[in-house]
Symmetry: D2
Subunit: 348 residues, 4 copies
């Protein structure tokens, strides 16, 4: 059994990692950390684990974690990961980082969007963006995987096939995203009023228009696919549900692009991966991928205005975070992508 640790286990992404790891046939959870809850039993913090785990939360000590585990998942706030990673890598441990710290290859861009200097240039240089659809080979040999954000996961899975095939234009793609509340508060259990039941329920809230930090991440990956600079506009919306993300992407169609051609491009692009291309007129519902490691993508063409709609539905905590991280683990160890991962979601 591979020994794995989860640092930052008290947040929602951490909880989701624990759920998924509990049924993975080839790994064993050996350590969990939380600054806030160090010293507490894991099954006190998370009653859904009552009687199912004897572990106790400890403070984050990267060196000790390196002794306790072969692979370390970091579900920490950004800036925290880059403090732990050099130690873990220095002791030869493989790291899968769920924070934003290693996603942007360009440290300047990190400074611009995260308002802070990156302190681990060496790590940044070797980190691989953890989307097997784009970087399968690099993930297989990486010592540090930067797990994508949930909006980038949705937006890139939907639009990369269009860009790669040339059916859609890269400039000025509009991405209207709808996310459940865990998407916005996944790093911790945030307690701002907008996340209260009373203020998130029966509400759709637009936020962070044009300034969301997932913007450069999407542009970076789509530009790599295009071989040219891609500019996008990301509009995130908080919708009243716990999990789920729908990325609705509007791209200008190239001549002769049809919905079916887009589906064909997506089927090729996603062959062998954990993405289902919906056919016919079926559109994606987030409920159909809840709790699942799979994403659903679908395409429509509006002849009246010339737009292609590329849509992706996924569970922001599962496929958009923790299941994605386990998929990267599977890929990096040469295991099947879906090993131990739930492909059938919780419906209804």
């Amino acid at each position: 059994m591979l020994r794995v640790a989860v640092a930052g286990a008290s947040g929602y992404m951490g909880a989701e990692l624990l759920r998924l790891l509990s049924v993975h046939p080839k790994v064993q959870l050996t350590a969990v950390t939380s600054e806030r809850l160090a010293g507490e039993r894991l099954d006190r913090v998370f009653p859904h684990l009552r009687g199912l785990s004897g572990l106790t939360m400890s403070e984050l000590n990267p060196s000790r974690l390196a002794d306790e585990a072969d692979v370390v998942f970091l579900a920490l706030p950004h800036m925290e990961s880059q403090r732990a990673v050099p130690v873990l890598r220095g002791q030869g441990r493989k790291v899968i980082d769920l924070s934003a710290d290693y996603r942007l290859r360009d440290a300047t861009l990190y400074g611009t969007w995260y308002k802070a200097d990156h302190i681990d240039a060496a790590g940044l240089a070797e980190a691989v963006y953890g989307m097997p659809e784009l970087h399968r080979k690099a993930i297989a040999s990486a010592s540090l995987v930067a797990n994508p954000g949930c909006y980038p996961m949705g937006a890139v899975l939907a639009t990369a096939p269009l860009i790669k095939s040339g059916l859609g234009r890269g400039e000025g793609i509009v991405i209207d995203g709808k996310s459940g509340v865990t998407g916005a508060g996944a790093q911790g259990r945030k307690v701002e009023p907008m996340y209260l039941y009373t203020e998130a329920n029966e509400n759709v809230q637009a936020y962070g228009i044009g300034t969301h930090r997932h913007t450069p991440e999407i542009e970076q990956e789509l530009s790599l696919v295009a071989g040219a600079e891609v500019r996008i506009l990301l509009t995130p919306n908080l919708v009243p549900m716990t999990r789920g993300l729908l990325a609705t992407c509007y791209a200008r169609a190239r001549p002769n692009a049809t919905a079916e051609a887009c589906r064909d491009a997506a089927r090729s692009f996603h062959e062998g991966g954990l993405v289902t291309v919906l056919d016919g007129e079926k559109l994606p519902d987030t409920l159909f991928v809840r709790g699942s490691s799979r994403a659903h993508v679908a395409y429509a063409k509006d002849d009246r205005t010339g737009f292609i709609l590329a849509m992706c539905a996924l569970d922001n905590l599962a496929r958009g975070a923790s299941a994605e991280a386990l998929q990267a683990l599977n890929v990096s160890l040469g295991w099947p992508d879906a090993l131990g991962l739930p492909e059938v979601g919780l419906f209804p």
Copy 2:
């Protein structure tokens, strides 16, 4: 007191009319109809009216309604309204129609989008689109008001100021709409699986992309404002909430357009009406207009891609249907727009 009747009172728009009429100081409800529930007491059908109304549902008999009321609100399925309107108008009654039957000036367009021939050309020729922001004078003298759909209400309130001022371009506007479940089932109490709690909850569902019947209505009104043909793409999404609609509209900016210039244009455009222009960086939440006769609009500019975002939040049953219909009544009788209407919504 003005005597008013509500035909089609058993649906959600009908229920909302009853709520609003119950506190209007100058009207008295004298008749209610429902084919399905004729003969039943209104307060049996709607327990929230228990003890508050002695009326009984009757079958729709336009001629009898014309005797019982001075003004008739029709909250009927489309195709039903156009059967009742000629009779009501023939007997000199003012009609406010909440269906889609009289919204499109061009009967051909009606045929194309509603797959049926319009049977009341005379009514269509005299109907006025019930948006006081665009047709205040015509409403004041109209005998037949065609109440706008909820998406058109949101989309036009947000984008008309851009078109009129020239700050945004009319061609290829993308409207990504998010609606609560009553928006999709407002005419009745529809019982398709997608409206079940179990399948709408924890779900975002895209539907009717590029084919939604509100499309020609939006284009008709924006084209009038522009003095040129406007083409739009409407993407409706069903989100898990009962009421509320957020229209997120993406228009190409003309040079020098700024968010603040858009707000100024909207402030002029909406002066004196029931629309609040949010200032600064505040974005609209649907929760802040729940149950209210007011809509909130807001603007952002993305310099990186050149898009203006024009957003409108409203309650699809109140401002997007029944309160709008009462506002039209107020305008047509020379009363203040907000007379008897709730401007402060139910928060939270």
Copy 3:
């Protein structure tokens, strides 16, 4: 116009008072206070008031409030009210207190359940429990009204007719309460994890069994009705909805009690008030009283076990708090109970 002030206007009960006061025909809001948000414009704090109020929040200064208003509503945390009340009463102002500070006639009981000594014995001696169903005359002449808690409101409206008529026994009544999230966090905008959307959604949470502070309040009022000591068990449950409270009360039936006899007793008891007794087999739904100043009560008898079920549905923020406070104001000024209050709720 009567000048009224709201102290503690930044919480949900405060917001609900503002909504209701905005349409009351005989009052004018002249001052609002909030320690946390002093200096901010009311319509910045609550976007649903944008453009509808020019007031600014101030710090709580009871003496100044007494100058600014004829009647003061206190929507403060408990212990805060008893500091302000003596000053306001000293300056001749009528006070309607929505906190728990003046609900228990016995200061010792206050100490036991609230773990603090009461500091205004004089106020306590003169306060009237603000339930017109039980204390109409006393409210009419009171200078200080203690507005009931939401569970007591529901439990007493349902069970007092049984106790008074002798159809049900007072000892050992079980009250299983189900409340929306604003019920638990109504004083402020609490930010404990159990109130987060992510942890309240898709969840039913039992809390405070046998220890809830509404217990002695219910016992006090039912004991007064019974003329003997009544003991109850209150089990509160948090359910995933914003507003609404269902109190399901189980009382042992006396011989010959029937559901219909209970309804008759309730019809007499509630005659002329703002309570609807549902007849036949209809059971109460919280949705049918959302936003309303009315409560619905219903009765069933289980012959197999000998229990009477007395149920009450109300909106915890409206009938269970702020509308109740306005009803008390109406009663105390000799106005009709329902003056300016919404009797038809927001459905759906």
Copy 4:
């Protein structure tokens, strides 16, 4: 691999069986039936299975099913199961029936509560009530397992330890149940207004008080434990969530009963099973068992009124239906109870 079939696969219990079977290591799904959707591909009916199953729905033909599978799960409406069971048993197949048809040992009782005559007396005589906590040995050798209803599952898991230990009295137990919407509509995708999103959301609805068909089932099993007749009152409530059931049971305490003694009794009773006894003051939340095969039980004692509260939280579709059915399968084949079942639920 054991070949299994699911009859009635188009309802929610069927869907949940499919989810659970998809990861069970020792079974293979070989056939699915649905009268309504015969001829359709399973992954068209349930988009969450897209690309994950090549099966097609067929009409229910018990004889053919007996050829296709070793074990048949019946997720049919009641009265349908008793038509299929004799054929399946006649061909030597093991049947696990999720309907109510074989739960009541007394056919007269079936007639009284289900208003129909039972047509398979032979089956009824041999059926075993599928709760391993009570009938483990009988299940191991049964050819026909009657899977418990969701309320009985919750109520019996919580109260049986009290009855068995004598800490609580059996007469007049009140069971106040709160269920998500799938609990009420689990057999199919019911389309009555009370199950619409618009009418179930933001609502708590009491229904079927004293008349719910789970009543005799609970009484039958508790009477067996007590060795005497037990009478209960069941009050079901529909709460706005998709999954989850909280059974709050009020039993009269025998002298010296304490909460801790109840917990001890429950720990003994549930040893080795899939029930977690919460300790200390922790109360059960339904969210902590969502999607899980485990139930949580907890106890409190109210010294003021002499009641014991016994509570059980479970997922009505998982532990309260389909996971329970798989646990019965595991027990009947001598496999570990939890084999292939998710013990860690989906949180949040």
